[in-house]
């Protein structure tokens, strides 16, 4: 089934795996060198659009279960750096580049209000660098390369979060805390890679996997596993390691939050998946039941505790940040079930939650633009003032709950199926019960938006450049709730690829 394309990069199409990363990477310094505020946006938009089109092409190439192996500079792996595209990372590439491109038109009006003018050019530079880093993490097949791209994206993320300082000075301390925790996470990750290299003598992921399946594991490799899971856990915001997330999401500019919430944690989850299933073999993982008995309780705690905290917030943006932590819990739950269905549930929820949260945070940005703040007390009755924005928030909110007909329902349905498949009905009940908490916090938003009287009832809808991206996302939550062909096929292919044909019998 898994056919490996022999690598002879002769034509333009052969170079696509590197171009998807290289185009935004080269465009980033270009925006600074030109230094024109007017030209920065078109350059950034074209670069992200190019990446998006390349990702679509790459996904179509690997959807049948194939693998593209690209050798950088013609150096054959394991000596050279390899870019390895299969269904799992082509799917994540598509998510990241699609969100990056769709958020781009939204940024124009949003940052005009939220970021001081002299930072606009540098905003697009940092945005492109962050975009490059995220794509690079996903595309590469080299363990150390993951770390380098991870730091490119993280460092530019800290800058982007700090740009919220014009609105609220707490953005600076949020960015600082994120920098400290993010760096500790990345350093743990790099220690893990060091142990892996010490244990296996190679950095190529496929090569490490081959070594481990041939020679088995030892204490060095297990230590590596622990460091990598904890390090990535910080970037994913697994429940007790989530402390950086609420402040960073709340005080970052709205456009940045929309982009990060939909991509950054998702990419970190992808890295976790890749290391847990492709690099360390599933058989090895099953020996280490610790993952199940550690990750599943943490996922369940996240689902309930973070949802409960979200219920009691009085700031829409902060509420959504806590809801993100809860939704990450669902994804981790799917992973910790350690079955093909659970894994495809996790991957499809990764995608569906990405588009849902992008729509919601874009809605928040539009509300902030017109009312100056995202506190419930300030956005009362905005359903009458901004009908289109409010309705997009309602649709995405329904998807957050998991109402049938929306994308959120599909992924929760698959998760429930995966739990029942293993006879763990109480896990299925937990998924449903925590969705009830989501109903409460989404209902509070609807109540605030529609059942209160606005302070100033003159209609002032958000500009079209913000409404259109927001509605593309809101409608796609419905689209992917009704037509599951693309998402489920890709998620199944990705899950099968990750488990590598390995099926679990019982538990």
């Amino acid at each position: 089934m898994a056919t490996e394309h022999v690598h002879v990069a002769r034509t333009f199409v052969d170079h696509l795996p590197i171009l998807v990363v290289l185009v935004p990477f080269l465009a980033a310094p270009f925006t600074v060198l030109i230094g024109s505020r007017r030209l920065a946006w078109p350059i950034a938009f074209l670069a992200s659009l190019a990446s998006f089109l390349i990702s679509v092409k790459l996904l179509l190439q690997v959807l049948d279960g194939g693998v593209i192996s690209y050798h950088i500079g013609g150096w054959a792996p394991p000596m050279g750096i390899e870019y390895r595209i299969d269904a799992a990372n082509a799917f994540v590439l598509l998510l990241v580049s699609a969100i990056g491109t769709i958020v781009m038109p939204y940024t124009v009006q949003s940052i005009k209000f939220e970021i001081s003018e002299r930072h606009h050019t540098l905003f697009y530079t940092a945005y492109l660098l962050c975009f490059t880093g995220l794509l690079g993490v996903v595309a590469t097949g080299d363990a150390f390369n993951v770390f380098v791209f991870l730091e490119i994206s993280s460092l530019s993320t800290y800058v982007l979060v700090a740009m919220g300082a014009k609105q609220d000075k707490r953005a600076l301390t949020a960015a600082y805390d994120y920098l400290i925790m993010g760096t500790i996470g990345a350093t743990f990750f790099v220690i893990g890679i060091g142990f892996l290299y010490a244990g296996t003598g190679t950095l190529n992921m496929a090569d490490i996997a081959a070594y481990i399946s041939l020679h088995g594991t030892d204490r060095t490799i297990m230590t590596a596993f622990a460091f990598i899971v904890v390090g990535m856990g910080l970037k994913v915001a697994i429940y007790p390691l989530h402390l950086w997330l609420p402040n960073a999401y709340t005080y970052a500019p709205s456009a940045v939050t929309a982009f990060l919430a939909a991509t950054a944690t998702k990419v970190a989850i992808y890295v976790l998946l890749r290391f847990m299933f492709s690099v360390f073999q599933p058989e090895f993982l099953f020996e280490m039941n610790a993952v199940r008995w550690l990750m599943m309780p943490l996922a369940l705690v996240a689902m309930f505790a973070a949802s409960l905290i979200a219920v009691f917030q009085s700031d829409l943006k902060r509420m959504l940040a806590y809801s993100s932590i809860a939704q990450i819990g669902y994804i981790l739950l799917g992973i910790s079930l350690l079955s093909a269905t659970g894994l495809s549930g996790a991957i499809v929820h990764l995608f569906n939650h990405g588009i849902t949260k992008a729509a919601l945070f874009m809605g928040v940005g539009a509300l902030v633009l017109r009312s100056g703040s995202s506190f419930y007390a300030r956005i009362e009755g905005m359903g009458k003032v901004m009908p289109w924005t409010s309705f997009a928030i309602v649709i995405a909110g329904l998807s957050l709950i998991g109402v049938p007909g929306t994308a959120g329902f599909i992924s929760k349905w698959v998760l429930v199926q995966a739990a029942i498949e293993q006879g763990w009905w109480w896990i299925a009940l937990a998924v449903v019960a925590s969705s009830l908490l989501a109903i409460i916090y989404v209902w509070r938003v609807i109540e605030v938006l529609y059942m209160k009287q606005p302070a100033d009832p003159t209609p002032r809808e958000a500009p079209l450049s913000m409404l259109i991206p927001m509605w593309i996302m809101a409608l796609s939550t419905i689209w992917f709730g009704l037509d599951t062909e693309l998402t489920m096929t890709a998620a199944r292919a990705a899950a099968d690829g990750l488990l590598n044909g390995f099926t679990m019998g019982g538990h």
Partner: protein
């Protein structure tokens, strides 16, 4: 019970562990933002030491081939790859440090302090005001 040779033979790894833990402790325990960055630097430097230790081959010399490329197969070379990796990690470390320091400058401009407890007090006060103005009516906390 204690294998003295094992412990002494891995001295560089022990040093790496001690340095790493010292750095991590400073990051967690110190309240001054600059001291935290210094701790982070120690923490990262410990990792550099770890990688460089990995590249050491007993009796190995510097991995530079003779100029005439007459390679003597009996000569043992150290592994250069971890050094190359660490060059990249050093660059990342410098970027992180400079960004952290830049953020501290901005924080001092806005808060007029770089002590964590004082910043926390200012932020708690801000949240209290927000709660009073916007939170109480909504039955939640801002």
């Amino acid at each position: 019970m204690f294998d003295v040779d094992f412990i002494l033979g891995h001295l560089n790894y022990w040093l790496f562990t001690v340095l790493m833990m010292t750095g991590l402790y400073i990051v967690v325990a110190k309240g001054n933002l600059i001291k935290k960055i210094v701790g982070l630097n120690l923490f990262q430097t410990a990792v550099f030491m770890f990688y460089i230790s990995l590249g050491k081959v007993t009796g190995g010399t510097a991995p530079i081939f003779p100029i005439d490329m007459q390679i003597d197969p009996t000569v043992v070379y150290s592994n250069p790859l971890p050094h190359v990796l660490i060059l990249t990690a050093i660059v990342v470390g410098i970027a992180t440090t400079s960004l952290g320091l830049a953020l501290i400058v901005r924080i001092r401009e806005e808060y007029d302090t770089i002590e964590e407890d004082e910043i926390l007090a200012i932020e708690t006060e801000l949240v209290r005001l927000e709660n009073k103005e916007l939170g109480d009516a909504m039955g939640g906390r801002a």
